[in-house]
């Protein structure tokens, strides 16, 4: 490979051709601050507009300062990252940015996690010499996301994920000059746009311009209400990330501590979404088998590929962009939805509490789940199956608010009967997990034989699109695909539309790497190693489980015996499956 020799801060360095000054400096231990620049190494997510100008450095001989994040190293370049000229310019640029930023850090949802705040602190900004007009935009609330455009610094990270990564394009830069800001088309509320509430904009926003809707207050109020019983469920990916909020290394598995903390917060019943993930496999897996058998038998009407439907942003995506293809995804509700439906029927009856008096809370790595809770079809007469969904970050806040020292908290078990799960359920948290879990059950059911190996390595990994052929002896060679990022999902939808989709079964997750990097997870600030550590932890958690196939979960077997009868029974169709709607956004330019 071609290499380039240059000097940075009086030290010689040799880097491969095409390396930016930022990267070259980084490998020498020189940390040039950045704001707009964002990159998730190995997850194909990047934003390099070179717009914030915080990373400017002096390149000797050049007329202007150079943005380190996009300037490639050139032979014999002499770079000064900390010359007075560069430092002064960087400080001035930051002061300019702050001169149009509300100084309400104490109340800001990003306080302590804000990259602008951190940078201002690191640079020792004590006063802002420039005073003048400030942006005055209204806050916008949606079921999942709160936008405060006054805090937008035009880094365009959100725009990049929304357009390039998700191919959704709900938000982008509007206006020009000083009023330029990221907003929706015609300033519409997110709910009226193509937004699918994946929340990746929130995950990458360096400031408090984008944040999740906070439900912690409502939960504390309901827990304190003696008339109500509260139960809580925790999604798989939460357990490999929550520890980060308490200073633990990324990838720490804190399942037991979460159960203990939720009990300490005061929930009456502490359950596990992993339980309903196993239930999902039973329902979705049975649906896959049914549709596949019909397809292989020559049924022309059956829709193949079957697509997963656990990711709420993905559900929103096909309802908004491909409503005509909404028969392809499985009708199975998401694990959150199945849990809510079971709790508000089977469990409410069991403990003798009317459903209105039972509050169901979910802890999710996700902000789209908040929107899912509000879906009318996922409730009865206006009473939602899941009352509130909170993110991993909100749970961390709840734990802190409730004076719980998470680190020294002894581990506890989830409650029964909706608390036991298998390794197949925990891997739902990573891309490929639902596919693998479904295969562990479906292949055994199809062949009637115990799998010799249950690790389907071929569907694991962190590539955005992965495909595999799974031989199912005596049935067929099953062609499967696993994608994350809705842009990749769009490719599959287009294949289906064009009639050339080669797969039988497709798993789709909206977020990078699946739920482990859901928009409700602790902020990673572009450090891909955090996501990789969570990814490894998910599979580690799977390995540690005594049972690793959903159909072997005794609590699942019990509920079928006691309540649902069998997978895809009439009762389960009623409670565990759902409908999708045509939600295509039609912009009426006249109004």
């Amino acid at each position: 490979m071609d290499t380039i020799k240059l000097t940075i801060d009086n030290r010689a360095v040799e880097v491969p051709k095409g390396t930016t000054i930022l990267k070259a400096a980084e490998q020498m231990g020189i940390r040039i601050p950045t704001l707009c620049h964002f990159e998730l190494d190995g997850l194909a997510l990047e934003n390099r507009p070179g717009g914030c100008r915080v990373c400017v450095v002096e390149v000797v001989g050049r007329r202007n300062l150079a943005p380190a994040c996009i300037t490639e190293c050139m032979p014999d370049m002499v770079v000064k990252t900390n010359s007075f000229r560069a430092l002064n310019a960087r400080r001035t640029v930051l002061e300019l940015m702050l001169s149009d930023h509300p100084n309400d850090c104490l109340q800001c949802p990003k306080s302590g996690k804000c990259e602008l705040q951190t940078l201002a602190a690191e640079m020792g900004i004590r006063e802002i010499p420039f005073q003048g007009r400030m942006s005055q935009y209204k806050k916008e609330f949606s079921p999942s996301i709160v936008r405060d455009a006054n805090k937008c610094i035009m880094c365009r990270r959100c725009e990049s994920v929304c357009h390039e990564y998700q191919s959704v394009g709900a938000i982008g830069a509007v206006e020009r000059g000083f009023p330029a800001v990221v907003s929706t088309a015609f300033g519409k509320g997110l709910i009226d746009t193509n937004c699918v509430f994946c929340g990746q904009c929130v995950a990458v926003c360096p400031t408090g311009a984008l944040a999740e809707v906070d439900n912690t207050g409502k939960i504390l109020r309901d827990i304190a209400n003696p008339d109500l019983k509260t139960c809580v469920q925790v999604a798989p990916a939460v357990r490999v990330a929550l520890g980060e909020e308490f200073g633990m290394p990324a990838g720490s598995i804190v399942t037991g501590k979460i159960a203990a903390a939720l009990k300490a917060i005061g929930f009456d019943y502490v359950f596990d979404t992993d339980w309903s993930a196993d239930l999902t496999i039973m329902e979705e897996g049975t649906e896959v088998i049914g549709r596949l058998k019909a397809y292989l038998a020559g049924d022309k009407d059956v829709k193949i590929p079957v697509m997963t439907s656990c990711c709420p942003a993905w559900v929103n995506f096909y309802e908004k962009f491909y409503p005509e293809l909404r028969d392809y995804p499985s009708t199975a509700k998401s694990p959150q939805g199945m849990f809510g439906a079971t709790v508000k029927t089977y469990f409410a009856d069991k403990i003798g509490v009317p459903r209105k008096k039972l509050v169901c809370v979910s802890v999710m790595p996700c902000v789209a789940k908040k929107y899912e809770c509000e879906r009318e079809e996922l409730g009865v007469n206006g009473d939602p199956d899941v009352n509130y969904s909170i993110t991993t970050r909100e749970l961390a806040r709840l734990i802190k608010i409730c004076n719980i020292d998470f680190n020294s908290l002894p581990e506890a078990e989830f409650d029964s009967p909706l608390g036991m799960s298998t390794g197949a359920a925990v891997i739902f948290g990573a891309t490929g997990g639902v596919m693998e879990a479904a295969l562990r059950t479906a292949v055994e059911v199809l062949t009637g034989k115990t799998l010799p190996r249950i690790d389907f390595e071929e569907v694991r990994g962190l590539d955005g699109v992965r495909e595999a052929t799974i031989p199912v002896p005596g049935v067929a060679d099953l062609k499967v695909a696993v994608v994350y990022g809705l842009k990749n999902a769009r490719t599959i939808m287009e294949q289906i539309k064009a009639g050339n989709c080669p797969y039988h079964f497709v798993e789709v997750m909206a977020c990078p790497g699946g739920c482990i990097d859901g928009a409700g997870q602790p902020y990673h600030h572009g450090d891909a190693s955090i996501i990789k550590a969570r990814h490894a932890a998910i599979y580690e958690a799977d390995r540690r489980m005594p049972l690793r196939k959903s159909h072997e979960n005794p609590e699942i077997q019990a509920i079928y015996k006691e309540f649902y009868g069998k997978p895809c029974s009439e009762k389960s169709h009623h409670l565990l499956h759902t409908l999708y709607f045509d939600k295509k956004i039609k912009f009426d330019l006249e109004n």
Binding site: P49, G50, G51, C52, R53, V54, V56, N64, L65, P67, I70, T71, E72, R85, N88, A89, T92, V93, L96, M97, S99, D100, P129, F130, Q131, G132, R133, I153, M154, G172, A173, E175, R176, G177, F178, P179, A180, V181
Partner: protein
Amino acid sequence: MAVKMHILVCGGTGCSASASREIISELNKEIVAHDLTDFAKVVVTGCFGFCERGPIVKIIPDNTFYTRVKPSDAKEIIEEHIIKGRKVQRLLYVAPDTNQSVSDSKHMEFYKKQVRIALRNCGFIDPENIEEAIARDGYAALGKCLTEMTPEQVIAEIKKSGLRGRGGAGFPTGLKWEIASKSRPGEQKYVVCNADEGDPGAFMDRSLLEGDPHSILEAMAICGYCIGANNGLIYIRAEYPLAIHRLQVAIKQAKEYGLLGKDILGTGFDFDIELRYGAGAFVCGEETALIHSMEGKRGEPTFKPPFPAQSGYLGKPTNVNNVETYANIPVIINKGADWFASIGTEKSKGTKVFALAGKINNVGLIEVPMGITLREIIYEIGGGIKDGKKFKAVQTGGPSGGCLTEKHLDTPIDYDSLVAAGSMMGSGGMIVMDEDDCMVAIAKFYLGFTVDESCGKCTPCRVGNRRLLEILTRITDGKGTMKDLEDLKNLSAVIKDTALCGLGQTSPNPVLSTINNFWDEYVEHVVDKKCRAGQCKALKKYTIDPAKCKGCTACARACPVSAISGTVKNPHVINQLDCIKCGTCVEKCKFGAITVQ
């Protein structure tokens, strides 16, 4: 039978706005009425340049140049000049120095020092008739390139000519073509013409496209031949309807004549040109922003590299040149690089078109050889400052340039001297200011323009320019401090150093150059709260001289904010806190009792 006399009437935007269309129809009516259709013919041309004296009507072959013609003059022109051969004296230009009428434009001071290369056909040909363009060597250069020269030879010729980009930055054109030609050979490439002229007061490109569209089409085809592109795109502002119309007509005619389209002149070379419309954003004159706009994206620049030659329109190698740059190409091919290089200075060859505007007697479009001095332009071509006022400064390069003063009058105009003097060539706007212009207000005006036109992508331009403008506003409002002046300098320097694109990097130039050249005026505004030009309203003070005031109450009754108090037949007083400095009282006072400081 060939027509003996041609009546050329300017059909440019300026003269059209001054009723040249009516003049044309009146002339045609008179020709028909006098049964002269076989003898005389009206030709609608592009801009003659002497806009100050428009509408212009020129009679060929005797080269009589009529100025400020009205539709009602048509009858006299036909009856006197065409029929009787007598010049209409009252419509001739009168030289201000000699008071003599001058009938031939080449004897006018305005034209004497001009050298018309890019504008060679403007005001001579009917831009909507390809045959007139062809009669003046139109498409001859394209033919020569396609049949006698290899692309490498053409590029070598352009390089040798020393032609530099006329859009403002002055990048060597031949080199640009060479880079584009070597970039990803064999792939689809694009030739783009940047007609997104946006400087306030500039109309060079518009006039060129209106007056001689074929030379641009021809040059783009030559460029396509050189770099290996078969597609050309002209990015033009939608607010230039006449230029768009003329281009559409020209493209259609060129295709009919086989000079555009498939297999041009039977050489096997294909080249097509399409128009792309801009919505009038100044920043879209920046080539990467222009390309994004053409792609249907937000018109904002991106970091270079990659340059358009590497990855431009739709990611393909793209060569972007300005209208005026292209206009020079056919002449260079026809007359040779040596001839072109003999005009101008050592590093700036050829000519430059300027739109001369502001407080100058001869407002108009001029083309001068590089190296001419500002003094020659302002005092000879421009005819000096209006109303005998004193020259103060000239702004070149539009909002990206700077103010040049008295001491720069003998600076030769070329790319490098202008930059050295603290301004820049820019695309060719040249606005002259006199003693009545406040330089702080001028800086504020230009900055206001950049603040409006900033795309908002990078922080220094989005927020920094806004803050600069706010500081300038404080100063012109009489609220400035000496620290504000320091902040202006420091912030300007950082914006120049850190902004993403040319717009941001040059936006503080009007501030810096006025600070450098008119520091005293800034200090006066801040310390003495005084604007010597009397332009800054907030710094004006209206007072009533009690000795002169008769107590007629006219001022008090007229004051819209009731800031004047007093009783009948007693001297009145202006309450300074209420006064909005509208000046109504001064107009009403019959006794000259109200003074403005």
